[in-house]
C-alpha cells in the first residue's frame, strides 16, 4: 500500500525540492512506497485530508487542531526553533509607523494561510480594526503580498515571519514591520494519520535521529530545518487549546 505525504501549502518555495528529498528518505526508512502530494490551496488540501487521502502531513498549527481532535491524527514531532510568527508590514515611506496608526477602510494584502491571517487580524484589534471595517486582497504568496504593498494596492500586508525574512533584501528595504508576533509556542507539526500509525514508533525514532546522521542532516538542510523535537500529546493539546482561544 502506498502512503501519502503532504505539506501545508505555506512552506517556503525555496524548500520545495527538500520535501521531495525527504520523501525519498522516508520511503527508505519505512521500506514502503510514499507519494508526495503538494497543494497550492489550503481548502483543496483540507478536502483531501477529510476524505482520508493523506497519511502524513507537515501541518500548520491551525490544521493540527482539525487533524488531531476531529480526524484522530497524532502529532509525532515538531521542527526545532521554527515557531510560526506573523508580521504586519507597510511600505517603508508610509507615515504610519505602528498598528494603532492604521484606520478603518484600509486594504490588507493577505494569503489563505489561516494561522497568519488569524494572528494578523488579532494584532489589528488594538486599532479597532476587524473584518467589518477593512478590505482584503488575497494573494497566492508572500512575494505577491509584498508586491501589492509596494505597488500601493494595499496599506498593510500579513506575512509569515519566515516568509518575510526570505524576501530579497531589496524588497525588504522598501517595507517596514509595524508589528511582529512573539508567541513562540505555535508551530508546524508532523502529523500521522490512522494508516501511518503502524509506522509511528519507527518513524519518530528515525526522525529524531536525522540530525545525528550525515545523510539525515543533508535532508534536514534541504528542508530548511535544524532537527525535530518530540511532541508529547499534552504539548499538542496545549497548542491546540491556545489556538482555540484565538479563533472566534
Amino acid at each position: 500500500m502506498t502512503l501519502n505525504l503532504s505539506v501545508s501549502p505555506d512552506f517556503p518555495p525555496t524548500h520545495l525540492s527538500g520535501w521531495f528529498i525527504f520523501n525519498t528518505w522516508l520511503q527508505r526508512q519505512l521500506n514502503t512506497g510514499v507519494h508526495l502530494e503538494l497543494y497550492d490551496s489550503f481548502d483543496a488540501q483540507r478536502e483531501d485530508i477529510r476524505n482520508g487521502k493523506i497519511d502524513l502531513i507537515y501541518a500548520n498549527p491551525y490544521d493540527a487542531s482539525m487533524l488531531v481532535r476531529e480526524l484522530g491524527f497524532k502529532v509525532l514531532v515538531r521542527p526545532r526553533n521554527r515557531a510560526d510568527e506573523t508580521v504586519i508590514a507597510a511600505r517603508h515611506d508610509d507615515p504610519r509607523s505602528c498598528v494603532e496608526d492604521l484606520g478603518a477602510g484600509i486594504n490588507i494584502a493577505t494569503t489563505a494561510d489561516p494561522d497568519v491571517h488569524t494572528m494578523g487580524m488579532i494584532m489589528l484589534e488594538s486599532a479597532d480594526l476587524d473584518k467589518t471595517n477593512v478590505s482584503f486582497q488575497e494573494c497566492d504568496s508572500y512575494v505577491l503580498v509584498a508586491k501589492a504593498l509596494l505597488n500601493g494596492q494595499a496599506d498593510a500586508g500579513f506575512f509569515l515571519k519566515d516568509g518575510y525574512d526570505e524576501l530579497s533584501e531589496l524588497v525588504r528595504h522598501k517595507m517596514k514591520m509595524l508589528v511582529s508576533s512573539q508567541i513562540s509556542v505555535v508551530h508546524h507539526t508532523l502529523v500521522a494519520g490512522p494508516r501511518m500509525q503502524e509506522h509511528a514508533e519507527l518513524l519518530t525514532e528515525r526522525l529524531l535521529g536525522m540530525e545525528e546522521d550525515p545523510k539525515g542532516r543533508d535532508v534536514l538542510k534541504s528542508m530548511g530545518l535544524d532537527g525535530w523535537d518530540v511532541m508529547e500529546d499534552e504539548q499538542t493539546e496545549f497548542m491546540i487549546d491556545l489556538i482555540d482561544t484565538l479563533i472566534d
Binding site: 494584532m123 508589528v179 512573539q182 493539546e237 487549546d241 491556545l242 482555540d244 484565538l246
Partner: protein, 153 residues
C-alpha cells in the same frame, strides 16, 4: 499609559471569593501591553496556576516560582467588579469560551489591561483545567470597560 493616571499610591484590602484577603499596594499607573505578545497561563479546575509563559511573568512582575501554585486571582485588580469574574466562571463551567476586557494588578501595584479569552481544557471528556490567553486591547475598548465596570462595582 492612560491619560487619567495620577501615579497615586495606596493600599486596598482585597477580599477573594474563597474568604481569603490580602492588603495590596495599588499604584495608579498603567503599564502598556507589549505589541505582538500573548500572555498565556493555565490553571487547574480550581484556578490554581500551573503554567505561565514569559510574557505573563514580565507583565505581572512576579517570578515563575511566585505564580505557579497560587490562585489566578492574585492578578485581580480592585477596580474589577466581582460580577465580571462570576460571568467568567459561570461561562467556562458550562464548557464555553469566555472573552472579556480585564484590568490586571501587577506585583508592584501598577496595572495593565488585556483582552482575555478563557477556555476549558477537556481531556478524554474530563475537565483538567483552563487556558487563558490575553492579548492587546484597543484604547476605545479599555475606555468602554472602565465606564462599564464603575457601574458594576
Amino acid at each position: 499609559m492612560s491619560e487619567q493616571d495620577t501615579g497615586s499610591v495606596g493600599e486596598v484590602l482585597i477580599k477573594y471569593y474563597d474568604g481569603t484577603e490580602r492588603l495590596a499596594k495599588i499604584v495608579d499607573r498603567e503599564v502598556p501591553y507589549p505589541d505582538g505578545k500573548l500572555i498565556v497561563s493555565r490553571t487547574d479546575p480550581s484556578g490554581i496556576i500551573t503554567h505561565a509563559n514569559r510574557a505573563f511573568i514580565e507583565m505581572s512582575g512576579y517570578t515563575r516560582e511566585e505564580l505557579i501554585g497560587v490562585n489566578h486571582y492574585i492578578l485581580r485588580h480592585p477596580d474589577m467588579p466581582a460580577v465580571a469574574f462570576k460571568d467568567l466562571w459561570d461561562t467556562v463551567a458550562q464548557g464555553k469560551k469566555w472573552q472579556g476586557y480585564v484590568k490586571n494588578l501587577r506585583k508592584d501595584g501598577a496595572y495593565y489591561w488585556v483582552k482575555a479569552t478563557v477556555i476549558p481544557n477537556i481531556r478524554n471528556g474530563e475537565l483538567v483545567g483552563y487556558t487563558s490567553v490575553r492579548r492587546k486591547p484597543s484604547r476605545s475598548k479599555i475606555t468602554e470597560s472602565e465606564a462599564l465596570y464603575v457601574t458594576l462595582r
